[in-house]
């Protein structure tokens, strides 16, 4: 069997159920830290981190646990951003409905993309998702409701359930935090569910899983749709936070960015994508003041990252501690 070491190189240390207690501790610590973060840090920045962290986690579900690298995840993120923006601004949906609608749109899109792409593997899967996403980008560029390169601006944040006024950054922050934690826990649960167990088996040895009677394509498709939906949840929330949905959200560089986040944090680690998202978003934010040195410094950081922490920050950390994180 010409087993190209593709998934093996990404292969995460798959934790067995009993070695997970420390992960709950880290999770609790993380929730606490996030809850107190707005005391120290600018809430809008934090919200950006959270939205991208959720996006990266959703992406990681696919690459880390199914071994599929999607290069078109911006399609789900951006579609949701447009859907939420349009629903909130033009149709006057309340925020919770707008985001729910956005998530649904992305899930539906995930079903279509997944159905087309799921039978391809490795780089071909990546490329077909990229191609589909580029076609969608073109559609959004031309479609009147997206506002072309101006995007949908001034999206109202509205009132959550008619009561909570989201135009207050802090209130918005709590909502985003809740959305993020919800999404994160769902992903965590998925990984450690009977379904997740089958996913791992498929990633390890697909023909064997088939011979045991598993319809592997359906499992992959469900994972893909889940990932798309959660990316959509992140994108829709982001649109409300920044009151903006634009072509940036659907451009291939966005798909690239989420790959970066997952890589920098550590592929197939539970907390890696969160750390990766925090790092990349901070870079963008705090390096902006470096002016024309931004891209150079960013580039150097990527190079250093690959050379120094192959497993990503969290991956290396987990290795040092001898525990999967």
């Amino acid at each position: 069997m010409a087993a190209r070491s593709e998934p093996a190189a990404i292969a995460a240390p798959l934790a067995t159920a009993n070695g997970l207690r420390h992960q709950y501790l880290v999770m609790a610590g993380m929730a606490l830290a996030l809850a107190s973060a707005p005391l120290l840090l600018y809430p809008v920045f934090l919200m950006k981190v959270l939205c991208f962290a959720l996006f990266a986690c959703a992406f990681n579900l696919l690459i880390g646990y199914v071994g599929l690298v999607s290069f078109g995840h911006a399609a789900f993120f951006g579609t949701a951003a447009y859907a939420a923006g349009h629903a909130a601004k033009v149709w006057g949906f309340p925020p919770e409905l707008a985001v729910a609608f956005a998530t649904l749109c992305s899930a539906a899109l995930g079903l279509v993309f997944g159905w087309l792409a799921i039978r391809r593997q490795g780089i071909y899967f990546a490329m077909i998702t990229l191609a589909l996403a580029q076609m969608l980008y073109f559609f959004y560029l031309q479609a009147p409701f997206t506002g072309g390169e101006d995007g949908i601006q001034a999206i109202p944040r509205g009132r959550l359930l008619g009561v909570l006024d989201l135009s207050n950054d802090l209130v918005m922050y709590w909502v985003v935090l809740a959305v993020f934690l919800g999404g994160f826990l769902l992903i965590y649960r998925t990984i450690h569910s009977p379904f997740g167990q089958v996913l791992k088996a498929i990633r390890e040895n697909e023909p064997r899983a088939v011979s045991l009677g598993y319809e592997v394509d359906r499992y992959k498709l469900l994972a893909f749709v889940l990932s798309a939906a959660l990316s959509g949840l992140a994108g829709g929330t982001k649109a409300l936070v920044f009151q903006l949905a634009s072509l940036t959200d659907v451009h291939w560089t966005m798909s690239g960015e989420v790959v970066l986040m997952a890589l920098v944090g550590g592929l197939g680690t539970v907390f890696g994508p969160i750390v990766g998202a925090a790092v990349i978003v901070s870079l963008q934010n705090y390096l902006a003041g470096l002016g024309h040195w931004v891209t150079i410094v960013q580039g150097l950081i990527f190079v250093a990252c690959v050379l120094a922490f192959r497993r990503g920050i969290v991956g290396e950390l987990g290795r040092l501690l001898g525990k999967p994180l």
């Binding site: 780089i123 580029q134 150079i296 580039g299």
Partner: protein
């Protein structure tokens, strides 16, 4: 006058020819990318930056050393290829055996650095580079005016592609390259210096990019970002052709140039997307690309 789908036939011929010319750039660039991917299993995201370096090297040779186009055609690939060899030796080598994503991230980071440095030095607008005196002017073909320089581009890139193809497919070297892609250890255990072969191959792929850059300098603006967006399209070409297929990347390069050219007539807005549409269709019908081997 004969018309086809509302377009006068002569105009159509002209567009086909132009498509072929653009295809020549795709072909050379994707060839380099395919060679590198084939052997190093690395998606060389620096390729666009290296193409740009080729163009800038030509500019520097002219303005700083007084060496003209023909020298540049020879020297720029050499210089840029050498920098490629350094990159392979000191950076890429450390990624052996890892997933392509790591190589992608590394080369992407490098591209950012290189483009940033050039921009800081030369500005973002770019610099002029004149068409060499020997190739100015053009031929009136009746249906269109064909600049001599463009004709030269097609001819020389066809020649370079063909030569590369012959060397890789028709000599033992080709088998070594393909085998080393799959199992470098075993090939080395057969007595072939795989590390050096890898280094040289990367250098060669990079030199091809630089060569395309020199060819491009007189027609496109010599600017730091000239290769930044190209890479993704060129990569699509490689995938459509079938990863690792040399012939595939050449033929697809020319073919897609033509298709893109036609799109510019019939639905100009979509001309930058058509490649991805084709990629999606091809991959759905032929999972390993047009000329790829299913494995």
């Amino acid at each position: 006058m004969t018309e086809l789908l509302g377009i006068p036939a002569p105009v159509l011929f002209g567009q086909l020819l132009l498509g072929l010319i653009n295809g020549a750039f795709y072909a050379i660039l994707s060839l380099g990318l395919a060679v590198i991917f084939g052997l190093l299993n690395i998606i060389n995201f620096t390729h666009g930056a290296q193409y740009m370096m080729g163009a800038f090297t030509a500019w520097m040779l002219l303005n700083w050393a007084g060496l003209g186009y023909w020298w540049a055609l020879l020297l720029a690939p050499l210089f840029v290829g050498l920098t490629g060899i350094l990159i392979e030796r000191f950076l890429l080598k450390r990624l052996a055996g890892l997933d392509h994503l790591y190589g992608l991230l590394l080369t992407f980071g490098l591209a950012l650095v290189i483009q940033g440095l050039y921009r800081n030095e030369f500005g973002s607008t770019g610099l002029p580079y004149a068409i060499p005196a020997e190739l100015r002017g053009g031929q009136n073909l009746g249906f269109m005016f064909l600049p001599n320089y463009r004709a030269w581009v097609v001819v020389v890139s066809l020649a370079v592609c063909l030569a590369t193809w012959l060397v890789i497919e028709k000599t033992r070297l080709g088998s070594y390259l393909r085998a080393a892609t799959e199992n470098p250890t075993l090939v080395q255990a057969m007595g072939i210096d795989v590390p050096r072969m890898v280094t040289l191959t990367y250098g060669f792929g990079v030199a091809l990019a630089a060569f395309a850059g020199v060819l491009a300098a007189p027609i496109y603006q010599v600017s730091p970002l000239m290769g930044a967006d190209l890479i993704i399209v060129v990569f699509a070409v490689v995938v459509i052709g079938g990863m690792g297929s040399i012939l595939g990347s050449i033929l697809t390069g020319f073919g897609l140039g033509v298709i893109e050219g036609l799109t510019k007539v019939f639905w100009p807005e979509a001309s930058s997307t058509v490649i991805f549409v084709i990629m999606a269709i091809v991959l759905l019908l032929r999972p390993a690309g047009l000329f790829g081997r299913t494995g």
